[in-house]
């Protein structure tokens, strides 16, 4: 019987290696806070963190950055006055800024087997300096590569033992695309449901993209 549930967060994250690329969803909500705490406790170092925003001074993103475990941050937005901004200014954090839509599309590309794609986003900006561009149908486009993760930490509202997930409202955000972009997708779910309880047409993230699930009640 397939059962992707693991007993606790420590078991779910035990084998995350130093140097791993970590995909972290969340946009005002939908961030797997308990898994982030678990990753801090687990202690893997030299991580690359992929997350939409570098966060502020508190919260999961700030905490994992402040822990010193991250070598590099890939995101669309960093405040100068934040843990991320100060670490970068001090030369303690590499930074790669990616437009938010390109970030989402690069993650999807990683999950979908697209090996590279051309987008007009950013093509006429500083972000294109030194990079490959091409004019397609009169539009200047930037060549972008997939952004696969070693591990995605995912937040869900419901999960069944096959790893089928639902997400609440806008807490869906990056969760489904990061789930599909990682070699190992670990989920924290608020609710455990029986197989078949989620209607087949309304699964938001199919279990094919999910490897481990931990039940984290509210």
């Amino acid at each position: 019987m397939i059962d992707k549930f693991v007993p606790d967060v420590a078991a779910a994250l035990a084998d995350i290696a130093d140097g791993a690329v970590i995909l972290l969803p969340g946009f005002g909500n939908g961030m797997p806070e308990t898994l982030v705490k678990g990753l801090i406790a687990q202690g893997a170092r030299d991580l690359t963190l992929v997350v939409n925003s570098g966060g502020r001074d508190t919260g999961p993103t700030a905490d994992i950055l402040a822990s010193g475990q991250c070598r590099k941050l890939i995101c669309s937005f960093v405040r100068a006055d934040s843990v991320a901004g100060r670490l970068f200014a001090a030369g303690k954090l590499e930074l790669e800024i990616v437009p938010q839509g390109t970030l989402a599309e690069r993650l999807r590309a990683a999950g979908a087997g697209v090996q590279a794609f051309y987008t007009p986003t950013g093509a006429d900006t500083l972000l294109a300096e030194g990079r490959e561009t091409r004019v397609i149908n009169g539009r200047n486009c930037l060549l972008e590569y997939p952004l696969p993760g070693d591990v995605a930490l995912v937040d869900a509202w419901e999960a069944d033992r096959w790893g089928n997930l639902t997400h609440r409202e806008s807490a869906r955000n990056f969760n489904p695309v990061m789930a599909m972009a990682a070699a190992l997708t670990v989920v924290q779910t608020r609710h455990v449901v029986a197989l078949g309880d989620i209607p087949p047409a309304n699964v938001h993230t199919p279990g094919v993209f999910v490897h481990r699930v931990v039940h984290v009640p509210a």
Binding site: F27, G28, N29, G30, N52, S76, F77, V78, R79, A80, G85, F88, A89, L95, I97, V98, P99, Q100, G101, T102, A104, E105, L107, R108, T119, P120, T121, G122, A123, D124, T125, L126, L127, N140, R168, E169, S170, A171, R172, N173, F174, N175, P176, V177, H204
Partner: protein, 215 residues
């Protein structure tokens, strides 16, 4: 001066006047966020928020906050009846794929060729705040900009021959709504569609670094 510049809410209200029923609209952070407050309830305009919300509604009453529902500014919102949720890649497919009738962004500067600069104030700014602006700027069917006509600090004009700040995208702006006027980008440069009451052509031109055109 016999004119009174619009305040930020006034700019938002002026923009709202020009949005017809049925449009899908994305509102950037800053002045644009306020536009939805000025669309009357009986005019159905569907607001898209890039974190996967189609049909964003006004802020909830304090006792009705849903922690799972925010907009691109991470403010608590409601969902209009008929709204729906998608994930981030699908949400930006809407933005980048040309499905938004309109995007309204704030900006530091707009140039007469439609260039927009709204993400970084200098080339050596150490930390970057791109967010979704570059995606929205290139993807929407129409890009309108909402900003003050002149900067608060040194009083320079944001209406430029050429942008002095790093670009967000080239040649994408259709209209600019400022506290003084409504401008459109034409093959000749900035055309003036509207001015606030009491403002003269000369007064507006004085406050614009680029040349303005009247038809």
């Amino acid at each position: 001066m016999t004119f009174r510049p619009l305040d930020r809410a006034g700019i938002a209200a002026r923009i709202a006047r020009d949005i017809p029923e049925g449009w899908f609209v994305n509102l950037g952070i800053g002045i644009p966020t306020g536009v939805s407050d000025h669309v009357p309830n009986d005019r159905e305009v569907i607001f898209h928020s890039e974190n996967g919300v189609i049909g964003a509604g006004p802020a909830p009453a304090p006792d009705k906050i849903n922690p799972f529902l925010v907009n691109a500014g991470t403010q608590h919102i409601t969902l209009r009846t008929g709204g729906s949720f998608v994930h981030h890649a699908d949400s930006f497919a809407i933005a980048r794929g040309g499905h938004l009738d309109l995007c309204v962004l704030g900006a530091f500067e707009v140039a007469e060729n439609g260039d927009i600069a709204n993400w970084a104030r200098s080339l050596d700014e150490p930390v970057k705040q791109v967010g979704g602006a570059m995606d929205l700027a290139i993807g929407a069917k129409r890009l309108w900009v909402a900003m003050e006509h002149i900067t608060k600090g040194h009083g320079g004009s944001r209406i430029r021959r050429v942008c002095s700040y790093p670009l967000t995208a080239k040649g994408v702006v259709r209209r600019v709504y400022t506290d003084l006027a409504v401008l459109e980008i034409t093959p000749r440069g900035f055309g003036v569609l509207d001015m606030i009451p009491g403002m003269t052509r000369e007064e507006l031109q004085e406050r614009s670094e680029a040349e303005l055109h009247w038809t």
